[in-house]
Chain length 318, copies 2
């Protein structure tokens, strides 16, 4: 028994000391819904909250990963340690290198002050949302100065980045229908900073016009800042970072505390709801589900009653 | 007391008789989570299951509503009664007319054999998913021969059409990045029929090529049928309907029964999960949520513990 728990015995301590292997192990423990996750998180939680957390989101193909890689480089030049969590399954972060780009992710992988992790979507009871939230908590407690979270999509993805971070950047590119859709869908109210990447694209001028036109329709107070970049060339990265820092500073200590409290409330609901969904899916696949469907077929119960019975079963299930 | 329940006293009977006003009232009762919904659904359920149910889904702007309107016209010419549920909030069905189109929705609104309803997203505990499921049950029990459900988006929308219907048609249009995204995202495995609308579009040839190329990569057995239409001109509608009917017939009685059973299982989970989410959101906004967040702030509990307490509270909540 003692032997079985041994590998995790001083895990929290080692994470708090910034030990790289311990961080990786701790994230895996959280991802796999290991029973050791609960005491680990309980130990780490009081040490979290110091990192600045930044979301990098946007449609596929706009250059989010390249931009995140360039941000890592800039942050390192400022002497800041960085944690990166990539949720986009097609992210080059998961492969370890951005071939053809000036910024080599492989360099960052060798840097002890940079921890990069791509999140799987399997295994955990609370799904990728819970695993991501806990991984950020681990990296935060481990003392990383800045955490970047890369997610694909906005407002519809499995993991909503808004409630995970202090500030959100939405990356768009010229000449893309997705960007126009994003504008139309009112997603302009979600990000703090919009980064128009690939600024040398032939359609950049019209994208810029459309963007500013769309933003002019929104409230001035909550309007995102627009910056432009050419991530592959490493251009506009300083401006992007400065805009993100500026937005966070403008929140003030009370504003930041309030936003984090709202984010945490949202995350608790998201995680609890994901656990509940997983439990319901399991129950419907079990004997109980088969019985309910048989009784529905026979006309013995109706669907509203069946939902109520399913909920009751989930309530009794532990 | 008797007076209060009086308006609903014979509602189920009147719905079963196909009474138009009763159908509208019954759907409202379901939408508003009225306590009368439970006995109503219990009475209607044994009479449901006769309608052929069809999903019409796809990205915004591809012409789903026009196509659905044209399908209604075709079905009426075949002597079939039709129920239409539009979940897309921007659907012209909600306005009652498709201006500029040859097919006037207003004609259908006056036809006693056509019942059109646009679903709101407010009010119901189980949200729009539950309201939509129950509205279909009402229309089915009321004797409509065919039910069309129009939803925006695929695979990401609030209401997943797949588990609501017997057969799904995905509407795409040439020259749209969305369609290419849909193909890339593997959404080809969801629909039974893909309808390439606006077939006279200049980019139709290349869209056709891309579509067939993408489909050739998938399994032949589950491959969707492709039809082409020009809904505004009323072209391709018969072909679309025949393809939908053919796909449903190819399932066979056992196949259809199996699909409906799987759909029902999925709907029960979706509805129970939506109710659970709504309950969790309410709890976090209440006193309990405030206390949990305060204790987290003070470091008295950690987030995993807070999620567990939130789940416990939801369990005790009725």
């Amino acid at each position: 028994m003692a032997a079985a728990t041994r590998p995790f015995a001083d895990l929290a301590e080692r994470v708090l000391a910034g030990d790289r292997r311990a961080i990786g192990r701790a994230i895996s423990v959280c991802e796999n819904a290991d029973p050791a996750a609960e005491p680990l998180i309980a130990e780490l939680w009081p040490h979290a909250g110091r990192a600045m957390t930044v979301g990098v989101t946007g449609p596929p193909g706009v250059g989010k990963s390249t931009l995140a890689g360039a941000l890592v480089g800039h942050l390192r030049s400022l002497g800041k340690s960085v944690g990166v969590i990539a949720i986009d399954p097609s992210s080059p972060f998961t492969r370890g290198a951005l071939l053809g780009d000036r910024i080599r992710m492989s360099d960052h992988f060798l840097d002890p002050e940079v921890f990069i992790r791509s999140m799987g979507t399997r295994g955990h009871l609370g799904g990728v949302a819970e695993a991501t939230f806990l991984a950020m908590l681990v990296l935060d407690a481990a003392g990383k100065d800045v955490l970047l979270v890369e997610t694909v999509g906005v407002g519809q993805s499995e993991v909503e980045v808004r409630s995970l971070v202090d500030v959100v950047s939405l990356v768009l590119q010229p000449g893309s229908g997705d960007s126009i859709q994003a504008i139309k869908a009112g997603l302009m109210e979600i990000p703090d900073v919009i980064c128009l990447n690939k600024r040398d694209h032939p359609a950049a001028a019209s994208a810029r016009r459309e963007l500013h036109h769309a933003l002019a329709l929104g409230e001035e107070e909550t309007r995102p800042v627009v910056v432009e970049s050419a991530a592959v060339e490493g251009e506009g990265i300083v401006e992007l970072w400065d805009a993100l820092e500026d937005r966070r500073e403008r929140l003030g200590p009370d504003g930041l505390r309030q936003r984090r409290r709202e984010n945490l409330a949202q995350e608790l609901v998201t995680i609890a709801a994901a656990r509940s969904s997983a439990r319901l899916r399991r129950l419907i696949g079990d004997e109980l589900g088969g019985r309910l469907l048989d009784r529905l077929d026979a006309g013995e119960i109706d669907p509203v009653r069946a939902v109520a019975e399913l909920q009751d079963a989930a309530r009794d299930d532990t």
